[in-house]
């Protein structure tokens, strides 16, 4: 517990900063309503993000982390994927909405998530590879089951950042934009809740760091 104290102090400082956010608006601004309509697409995207990289890593194994093709897909930023999709979006399909947002988010995040998971898997050579493919898959399954909750907790803030960028490109009010809109409107309570959510995610992801050390 004492080891976590400086980290907790950082979160308390961030909470205090959110609560005492400086500056006043010259006009009265009501905090933006929480984008409830974004919860559906966000849950779908989260489900896909939570399912696809582990599946990919389960079938491809830890060697996936060393694939150059994956690195090549990982290198361009979220912004480039979103702008590319915006440019190639067929005009007949109307303005890009949540479907395009989900596609851009997946394109931007899947390669890095798959690499993250693949590099966190234990090596399979010489064992369990020598015991056969079934043993290797069983080992992968167990490792992935152990990694999954902490991987989700560690990576959610990153997805929120990617979501914010994609939302801004497509002009959609989503969870990422909500964070920014609350800063602009100086919504102290809403911001404090966001910081609290980040702090809880950090606490949930802590055991992973201990294992890595």
């Amino acid at each position: 517990m004492s080891r976590a104290l400086p980290g907790l102090a950082v979160w308390v400082a961030a909470l205090a900063l959110a609560w005492l956010l400086p500056g006043h608006l010259w006009h009265a601004a009501r905090p933006a309503p929480f984008p409830l309509e974004a919860l559906g697409p966000a849950s779908l995207a989260l489900g896909l993000m939570a399912a696809l990289p582990p599946l990919l890593v389960y079938f491809a194994g830890p060697s996936l982390a060393r694939r150059r093709s994956l690195s090549a897909l990982e290198a361009p930023p979220d912004l480039a994927w979103a702008l590319l999709l915006l440019a190639l979006w067929p005009a007949a399909a109307g303005p890009p909405g949540w479907t395009a947002w989900t596609a851009a988010l997946l394109a931007a995040s899947l390669p890095s998530e798959a690499r993250w998971l693949a590099s966190a898997l234990p090596p399979e050579s010489p064992f369990p590879q020598a015991w056969g493919a079934q043993a290797a898959r069983a080992s992968r399954r167990r490792s992935l089951a152990r990694l999954l909750p902490r991987w989700l907790a560690a990576r959610l803030p990153l997805w929120l950042t990617a979501s914010l960028v994609v939302e801004r490109v497509f002009g959609l009010p989503g969870l990422g934009s909500d964070w920014m809109a609350r800063v602009i409107a100086r919504d102290h309570r809403g911001l404090a809740l966001w910081i609290l959510a980040f702090a809880l995610l950090w606490i949930a992801a802590r055991p992973l760091e201990r294992e890595a050390a």
């Binding site: 150059r68 090549a72 702008l83 803030p157 964070w179 602009i184």
Partner: protein, 236 residues
Amino acid sequence: MKRLWPLLLLPALLLPELALDPFRGGAPADLHHWLGTDALGRDALLRLLLASARAAGFASLCATAALALAWLLALSGASARSALSALRAAPALLWLIPLAALSGGLERPVLAPLIALLLAPHLEAPLRVKAEALRRSPAWAVTRIQGATGPRRLIAWAPWAAREASSLFPSAWLGALWTEVTLSALGLGPGPQTDTFGRLLMEDLPKLATGATSAWAALFAVLALAWGLSFPEPAP
């Protein structure tokens, strides 16, 4: 060392802005302007080259500062590690966006130290692993037995530290590059008096649908910058 080529683009930060000539804006490509001119009359090719070189130079500056800071953090005691872990919990951009929104945009002299500060905790963890391995090695013990003081030992090991840091340079550079580019594309970077690569991408990439040459050139520049360091280091 070949992965450090973006450092050569540092002087690009000192280059002046291109002159505006709105009466010649939107001109098609010809022999003088290979990609035509933008809405404000600037040569599109020159603008693209200047903006991407500046973005690369700026990212080099931030990455170098972040790596130096990360080494200092890695060599410091264990007391602040949990604080660094808390700072690592969210990507740099997630902290920078509200900060930039609060201050109405961040100019490069302010943005550079902020990016370095926010990237350093992410780079500290791998450097700490290397520093701890060195501390446990006989080579480190020998220098202590020979009577070298703390600063002398640090100076003696500085080339090794630089070599180890250079292996992390590509990921630090890409992190700094896309942070600045995304921030300026969202309109939260430097003011309108400074042209940025992010703003150029926001203007040009959506034109891909119309087949504009400048849009394809912008896409090529993104991929060249993204893959220019022969891809990020694959995980061991």
